[in-house]
Symmetry: C2
Subunit: 222 residues, 2 copies
């Protein structure tokens, strides 16, 4: 069976789970505690990061960028990267925006500094980083709202990996109660739409021991 | 004419320059001082980063990941991402390794902390970051050397974007005199091979005002 090695709050793992579900590709989930540096896992991925996708034929695909590109090549039904060169450039620009810029400016500051450091016993959160994370979140929500208001989906007329990447980061932060949805009605409306997509139910059902999400987290009419 | 907006020491710009040259696609270079936040450039790339590739037909492709994937789709001759699904997964794993892990652990600490902060007047370099950069460089050179010894090129039997990504980071750091090539003979041998590829001459000819590279920088027999 196909196995996705993941961590429940990893936005990069969440993006791949959503992509697999959109393509209706069945898979089993396996939690990989990367901080334990398991030897068999290191042999497959020396960077020791999740997600890693292991196909039933033994092929392992490492890194969410490699996995998502692989999925659209190996399973072209329901393309997630767009059809024309221009569409594909726009989808990938936005994937880089969310996995690069949003991740560095928001996710890392709020998810890593505020939660993971404590869980992993890596010292106290950096208050300046957390302040920066909150300050950066508002313009990012505005940008998502602006894209959602001017297009059917974030990258254009069709749902794409750009929506899944954005939703992956936001859903991980929403689990931690970090998103104030009243800041952008347009972003909230878009998130309500993507929340009802296949694959989201599995994400919303995950629980991390010691961390309870806010009441609205799994609610489709939040 | 095709224009690549770039910065001379940006490893991500260098990777795209090498990819364009490998495919023998002609282009003009234009330096984009991203810190000036030029309005016309922001309209194309709100993230205000280089590289951005502008095609003669007006299509702009933003972000080095989007550009490199685009180049292999729009100009399939001389594929840089591999042919089979397994080859492509390995190339992309290594591109993510160099542009993600190597960049965070080495390039950012030595290029940004040591040089860019000063040039941009953003305060003093963080000594701990610079120490970490040097400490991380050695195992990374060892990994490059190990790959180069066990395969013809870093990702397998053919030269690929993995080689170009690695060479882009190393060449930017080599300009600053940060690479001690005596640390890994195998990495040095691989770098000597890639240095003689098309496109490297243009990189090695670049000069950044106020920064003189070491004598061996442009030497093919360093």
């Amino acid at each position: 069976m196909r196995i996705l090695y993941h961590l429940p709050l990893s936005p990069f793992s969440r993006k791949v789970r959503l992509a697999l579900a959109e393509k209706r590709i069945p898979f089993d989930l396996r939690v990989e505690r990367v901080w334990e540096r398991r030897e068999e896992f290191l042999a497959v991925n020396p960077a020791c990061t999740v997600p890693v996708l292991q196909e039933a034929n033994g092929l392992s695909i490492v890194d969410s960028y490699a996995i998502c590109e692989y999925l659209d090549e190996a399973y072209p039904d329901g393309p997630l990267l767009g059809r024309t060169l221009a569409e594909r450039a726009e989808v990938r620009r936005l994937v880089a925006w969310f996995d690069g810029k949003f991740n560095a400016e928001v996710t890392r500051n709020l998810l890593y500094e505020k939660q993971m450091k404590r869980l992993l016993g890596r010292g106290n959160p950096d208050a300046a980083a957390i302040r920066a994370g909150y300050a950066n979140l508002k313009p990012h929500l505005d940008y998502i709202g602006w894209l959602a208001e001017t297009r059917a989906w974030l990258a254009g007329h069709a749902l794409s990996l750009a929506d899944l990447a954005a939703a992956a980061h936001l859903s991980a932060l929403d689990y931690l109660g970090e998103i104030d949805w009243s800041q952008s009605d347009a972003a909230k409306d878009w998130y309500a739409r993507i929340k009802s997509r296949p694959g989201f139910r599995s994400l919303l059902g995950d629980r991390v021991s010691g961390l309870t999400p806010p009441d609205h987290y799994a609610d489709l009419d939040f």
